[in-house]
């Protein structure tokens, strides 16, 4: 008590210009540390955003304006002609229907592959954690090892397998391939997540008499939203951006958007229409971009949740 009294009584006498410390410490904004931090952040943001800027502005320009040569300038008369052309009438090889068929092909590939692969991986992860069977660890090790094998090594065998299954060059083939290749990483993801949930919940459900599927659907799934979001993002972006499997397995009429984009950009006839190419590229990237923007918060939370236990 007496100490506080003396401190309150004799402050400003000694240092008239110094404010007596009290309450939260003031946090000035313009400190050298903060200036450096924000300078670096702004610089790198611009660095990474610049290509996007060039893409967007160019896609809104007309060809004569592009030929004029200043790629950093803003469009004089922004118009969406190039976008319309890219979507509806740009030539991908012999077809001149634009990117729209490719978009729908990609949708047809991405949705089933994502759903099937995530479902199987979730069941895998759940079984590996909660229903340990003889050799489950070995099984898991093999599965993880699978994710280290380069795709190229398996490409030709897979072509033969899908040919034998009589699905080569169809949507089913490319969906199957995506499902199989998504398995190791997704299983790892789900296994780690389920391992981080309290084991006692599972035990309680067993004492309550619930079986394999009942526990999975009624207890485990409702608790796994964060990890499902992560898996969704990984699969949607991964499969949407895939080029190799699409070009090999899907067949010409089922080419996904990425392959058709390539065909537009690389078409050898006439002068390259940069504005159409840019518009087509942005269109193709729109889906993953949207997914990231919408689910960013969930993504970080889910990754953190899955990383708790190894």
């Amino acid at each position: 008590m007496s100490q506080t009294a003396t401190m309150a009584g004799s402050p400003s006498v000694a240092h008239d210009d110094v404010v007596e410390a009290r309450g939260p410490r003031p946090k000035p904004f313009f400190t050298p540390k903060k200036i450096m931090l924000y300078t670096a952040l702004v610089f790198f943001s611009l660095y990474y955003l610049f290509p996007l800027y060039v893409m967007l502005t160019t896609s809104l320009k007309t060809m004569p304006e592009i030929r004029f040569g200043n790629i950093f300038a803003l469009p004089q008369a922004p118009n969406f002609d190039a976008w319309v052309k890219a979507w509806t009438s740009a030539c991908t090889g012999l077809n001149c229907q634009g990117l729209s068929p490719g978009f729908w092909n990609s949708v047809k590939i991405t949705i089933p592959s994502t759903i099937v692969s995530i479902f199987i991986a979730a069941v895998n992860g759940y079984a590996l954690v909660n229903w340990r069977f003889k050799g489950s660890e070995v099984f898991f090790a093999i599965l993880i090892f699978g994710s280290f094998i380069p795709y190229q090594v398996m490409l030709y065998p897979l072509v033969m397998i899908t040919r034998e299954l009589k699905i080569f060059g169809t949507l089913q083939a490319v969906i199957l391939i995506h499902t199989v290749f998504g398995m190791p990483i997704l299983t790892l993801l789900f296994r780690n997540y389920f391992a981080s949930l309290p084991q006692e919940l599972f035990k309680a459900a067993r004492v309550d008499g619930a079986g394999f599927w009942r526990i999975f659907f009624e207890i485990m799934l409702p608790m796994s939203l964060p990890i499902f979001v992560v898996a969704l993002i990984l699969q949607i972006t991964g499969i949407w951006n895939d080029f190799l499997f699409g070009v090999v397995f899907a067949g010409t009429q089922n080419y996904p958007m990425t392959v058709q984009l390539n065909n537009i950009v690389n078409s050898a006839q006439g002068t390259p229409e940069y504005n159409v190419n840019m518009a087509a590229t942005v269109l193709t990237g729109l889906v993953p971009l949207t997914v990231y923007f919408v689910s960013g918060k969930w993504f970080v939370r889910g990754v953190a949740a899955g990383a708790v236990k190894g």
């Binding site: 006692e200 067993r206 619930a210 009942r214 009624e218 409702p222």
Partner: protein, 360 residues
């Protein structure tokens, strides 16, 4: 008395690690058994085996006379309460309680009646529509008990149910569990590492160490006649004072030469001729002043540390060169450096063979 749970020759190995070895235990109908031991002693493992959550390596488990060794948990007539409550987080309290009944396909009105009965017994009626996240620790544990209650099981298994609660709540719920047992009269098997819980709740305590039951007896016997050095040291807080020395006839000679007559001690077998032994005396069996003079062994001592506990005072001193604690009334003024006379109540002490560590 009819046996409710009977464990015969149970062994459990995790790989090459033997967690339980040839364990036998018979539990009577309506009995409250506490499995007590430090972490890693196999008590929770044993409980999980009884529940059917772990597969046994050898041996048999009988519940109500039926061999349930190969039965699923739900078919064993058991309900289990876990330390972390293990409530299903996305379900309301009501759904949590009724989950097992819904799985079993019970008619809706029967489920409703049972949930209401459990809610009434545990006084959680107003909480039925809440999610577990919106409950306090004590409320969660009640719901967890309710989940076992609604299933009308024969045997309740508790796996350290109070360990996650604060001290005040723990003692409240302890009394509630005791009251519940008196009302339901079910067989209850209760795992804990807390000796106060064990001593207050149990009809019989099984003290375990390294997968072996050291002593199975009622709390009074466990406390007053521990069967070996381990049990003696584990039970009691502060723990029993131990003096090592040699026993010759009815004279115990401590290592520094102090002679203590132990004629008053109730030997299980006639006193051996001469053997290395350990004398154990509980802190409350050491007396001060007049009471000390009536004891068969008394010695002058100097107070080294005083710990006032409110209702009583713990004092530390040295006897035969070994630190010794004793309890006395908090009314007695004690200060560090005081010279006092203390007396050992040998009749209530314990003597152990130094080699086998068993009670003499």
């Amino acid at each position: 008395m009819q046996t409710s749970v009977s464990i015969k020759d149970l062994s459990l190995n995790f790989g090459s690690v033997k967690v339980l070895e040839h364990l036998n235990l018979d539990i009577a109908q309506g009995e409250f058994i506490v499995l007590l031991g430090p972490s890693g002693c196999g008590k929770s493992t044993l409980l999980n085996c009884i529940a059917g959550l772990l597969e046994v390596s050898d041996g048999q488990i009988f519940i109500n006379g039926k061999n349930v060794t190969w039965k699923e948990p739900k078919d064993r007539g058991i309900g289990m309460v876990f330390q972390s409550y293990a409530l299903y987080p996305q379900m309301t309290v009501e759904k949590n309680l009724s989950f097992g009944l819904r799985v079993a396909g019970m008619p809706k009105d029967e489920i409703k009646a049972r949930v209401e009965r459990a809610a009434e017994i545990l006084q959680i009626g107003p909480l039925l529509q809440r999610k577990p996240a919106n409950l306090s620790g004590g409320q969660r544990q009640r719901v967890a008990i309710g989940r076992a209650l609604v299933r009308d099981v024969d045997v309740f298994l508790f796996d350290e149910p109070l360990s996650n609660l604060d001290a005040k709540l723990r003692s409240d719920l302890r009394v509630e569990i005791k009251r519940l047992h008196q009302r339901l009269k079910n067989t209850m098997i209760y795992v804990t590492h807390d000796q106060i819980e064990a001593l207050t709740l149990a009809d019989r305590i099984a003290i375990m160490k390294n997968g072996v039951i050291q002593q199975l007896a009622d709390p009074h016997v466990i406390y007053n006649k521990p069967t070996n050095l381990y049990v003696a040291g584990f039970i009691g807080s502060p723990s029993m004072n131990f003096l090592s020395g040699t026993l010759q006839g009815e004279i115990f000679t401590a290592d520094d030469g102090t002679k203590i007559p132990v004629g008053a001690y109730d030997f299980a077998a006639p006193a051996p001729g001469s053997a290395k032994a350990v004398l154990g005396v509980r802190p409350e069996h050491i007396f001060l002043g007049d009471a000390a003079n009536a004891m068969p062994f008394k010695t002058p001592a100097e107070i080294e540390i005083v710990e006032p506990m409110g209702s009583e005072t713990l004092a530390w001193t040295k006897v035969a060169g070994i630190p010794v604690t004793f309890r006395c009334s908090s009314d007695i003024p004690l200060a560090v450096g005081d010279k006092v006379t203390i007396g050992f109540d040998i009749a209530r002490g314990s003597l152990f063979d130094a080699k086998s560590e068993n009670r003499l």
